[in-house]
């Protein structure tokens, strides 16, 4: 047991300080009240201890103002805690626009982390200090949870749809990554490290590892390999809807609904195309790719579709991405990390 004893976690992200402050204040407040109650209680038992077995107590006259006071005062404290907690929550959950978009796939029992520039890591994630990093998360199998105590962030990783988490490292160092949702036999082994590096070191590390080309260019390879390009042409609309500028756009589908083409929509359109048919197109034309693609292949394709901005097919690093300007800022019903089944984001481009 020679490792240093730890009683306080590392604080290494832009929100860690705020979480620490709130936590410590809560500890101080709650301890004071608890001590006060304990003191009053113990004091009463000692001061008013029976001297003979047949003594009875003096009934305290019921005073409604007292009852009201100790109802209303705690209530106001609680509302303060609620408000502070909610504000902090929004800071934790809302990624800034300029975040580097990365992807993470959880599966029994490892993490696969994908940089947009191409490098892929297993159970480790290198990130630059001082820049926000946003992770789109999905599970290959059961529910996991992406937990970095030093950053004070946690997000469940679900099968079947993407959730989002983000963090901005402020202190270079090596920080625990834990799976925080029980996922089977080796749940306690599904751990790793986040390496927060000085920006120059990070750049050096990145270029050393980007052998395969950017993530979206890998996606472009799959786009051709799996035959998508045969129907989804670039010059004109064919049998299949046009994919240029798709990401973030509103799409009208058969049945009258309008949906926003976010990551979940694109994933569903690949794996279960008949679920939503674009208005004017036919069902049962696009093959169903369920079971034929792994989650990381799907993510690569999505990365490619995102990159289909002004010039289709060009290899663009998608760190800035083609995400709509307002992504992460809208005050709609669902913030990041939320459900995005059809029709839930009213977004403007």
């Amino acid at each position: 047991m020679k490792t240093a004893l730890k009683f306080w976690p590392d604080s290494a992200s832009s929100v860690s300080g705020q979480v620490n402050f709130f936590f410590v204040l809560m500890v101080v407040l709650c301890t004071s009240i608890a001590v006060a109650i304990a003191f009053f209680l113990i004091y009463s038992t000692l001061r008013y201890h029976r001297k003979h077995d047949n003594e009875m107590g003096r009934p305290t006259r019921y005073r409604i103002p007292v009852e009201v006071a100790w109802t209303v005062i705690p209530f106001f404290f609680f509302m303060g805690m609620f408000a502070w907690g909610s504000k902090l929550y929004f800071d934790i959950e809302r990624p800034p626009d300029n975040a580097i978009k990365m992807y993470a796939i959880g599966q029994q029992w490892m993490w696969e982390l994908q940089h947009p520039e191409g490098p892929r890591e297993i159970n480790e994630l290198h990130i630059p200090v001082g820049r926000p990093v946003q992770l789109s998360l999905i599970s290959q199998d059961v529910i996991h949870s992406f937990f970095v105590p030093a950053f004070r962030t946690k997000q469940d990783v679900l099968p079947g749809r993407y959730t989002t988490t983000w963090f901005k490292a402020t202190v270079p160092g090596k920080y625990h990554l834990f799976c925080a949702e029980y996922c089977g036999a080796k749940h306690s082994g599904m751990i790793g490290w986040i390496y927060a590096m000085d920006p120059q070191d990070y750049q050096r590390w990145l270029t050393e590892g980007a052998a395969e080309g950017s993530f979206s260019s890998q996606g472009e390879k799959f786009f051709h390999q799996f035959g998508c390009a045969n129907c989804h042409h670039f010059e004109r609309q064919g049998r299949a809807p046009y994919l240029k500028d798709l990401y973030g756009r509103r799409v009208e589908i058969e049945g009258g609904q309008t949906v926003v083409a976010d990551e979940n929509y694109i994933r569903e359109s690949i794996l279960n195309p008949n679920a939503k048919i674009v208005y004017g197109f036919q069902p049962n034309v696009m093959p169903n790719f369920t079971g034929q693609l792994t989650e990381d292949q799907v993510l690569a394709l999505i990365s490619y579709v995102k990159a289909l901005g002004p010039e289709p097919g060009s290899q663009q690093p998608s760190s800035s991405g083609t995400a709509p300007k307002e992504y992460g800022q809208e005050k709609g019903i669902a913030g990041p990390g939320a459900t995005s089944i059809s029709g839930s984001h009213p977004q403007e481009r």
Binding site: F23, S44, R50
Partner: protein, 546 residues
Amino acid sequence: MIEEATEQSVRETYLNKEQGILSWLLTTDHKRIGILYTISITFFFFLGGFFALLMRLELIDPRNWLVSAETYNKLFTMHGIIMVWFFLIPSIPNTLGNFVLPMALGAKDLAFPKLNLASWYVFMLGAAVTIFALFRGGVDTGWTFYTPFSTTYSTTYVTAATVGVFINGFSSIMTGLNFIATVHRMRAPGLTWYKLPIFVWSHYATSIIFVLATPVLATTLLMVAVERIFQVGIFDPRLGGDPVLFQHMFWFYSHPAVYIMVLPAMAVVSEIIPAFSRKPLFGYKAVAYSSIAIATIGFLVWGHHMFVAGISAYSAMSFSILSYFVAVPSAIKVFNWTATVYRGAVSWDTPMLYAIGFVGLFTIGGMTGLFLAALGLDVHLTDTYFVIAHFHYIMVGGTVMAYLGGVHYWWPKISGKLYPEGLARLSAVTIFLGFNLTFFPQFVLGYLGMPRRYAAYPEEFQFLNILSTAGASILGVGYVMPLFYLLWSWKYGKEAGPNPWRATGLEWQTSSPPPKHNFEETPIITTSLPYPYEEMKEELGLVQTR
């Protein structure tokens, strides 16, 4: 003044009126059924505790050393299932509630005595199926059975376990139904709602939760079992299902379930504190209404178990604010209990030790709930040891202490004997100290980031884990002691008499142990208040000295 229960010269009691094992197994007497339940839950407490002991031993060392990871996963699952459904939920209602409730109402029995007996058999049947799952190799899904792991990936006896819990749920529903009907229709003449002891109010509130929440658990587990057996994709995203829907349905029951665990504990404490302060409970109506408020608002907060599960921010905020609302009535109770002790004529008998301990530990546990209700903090703290410490403070520091306090308080009534006070105080203190050493370090571990359900962990967490295990061994010793001295006192203890504590409450107006039908004659209530110390002072032989 209550018309006199005639003095007993022929000591025929519920214990000796009929003899033989069949008279116990086929009894419809609520008191005997309460004892049957007590035997059952005591067994399950020690079984669940044994699993906890193995877990704590494993956690002394950061690596897997005592058991494999797979076995550890089964240990925490079985610990949870047994403790929640086969110990905590029935712990006070089906033992002390069964025994005391009809007596507190001046009734001869519950409304439906045969239903009461049936509920015990249903409980035992559920237990048998769950034990079967245990012996065949156990379950490893966690007591929370999250999908799709439980429906599609786990290779253990999930279906058997869910069926066992499903059956157990019907025992809860039957009990709740019985209690509600009894409180409504079986009160003695003159016993209006606002003269009922808080023990009754709180059990009534608990029963509302029993009957409204448990059916939803039944349905949820039914769907899990169907999905497992028939491989249909109710919660499988590959087939259009939503695994988060399971969480909503599960927690819709399981959050109110924790109020099932704490309201009866509060019921017991609300009786002990006035009794050992020899004065009425301060703020009776506020405490009564608080019980109902906790039961009601408790149905609206389930999403606070799911803040990082992928629900929307606005949904999370709603559940957060409601969780703060539900904290208010509990705070009211704590203040009212404290005010009751003030200016009392206090004694440090064992039940009072447990009750005061409850107030302290429940306050800590409840306050850490405030931390978890704050969204920004919960992101960091959820699924860590902070949550484990939080709920153990309430369920063990709270409910188990209250249960033991109640057992000691009503022991003279149940057995007719006094337990040995010195030994009892020693075990209460041992339990209190052992408990805090076990669970307080876990708050620190939680903030440090140690996740739940980890069989192995990074080395820097080891010291706190060792402290926790040390505490657990002390706690274990504390729990075993009452088993011995209580049973000893049943045979060799001093005679208790009808009212050794000089408490108010109808159950103390009859002999110890009571006759089979509780009262020689149906009591008629002529006092005007609950906890009528002033009105009954002569009868109880009490003197005001302050």
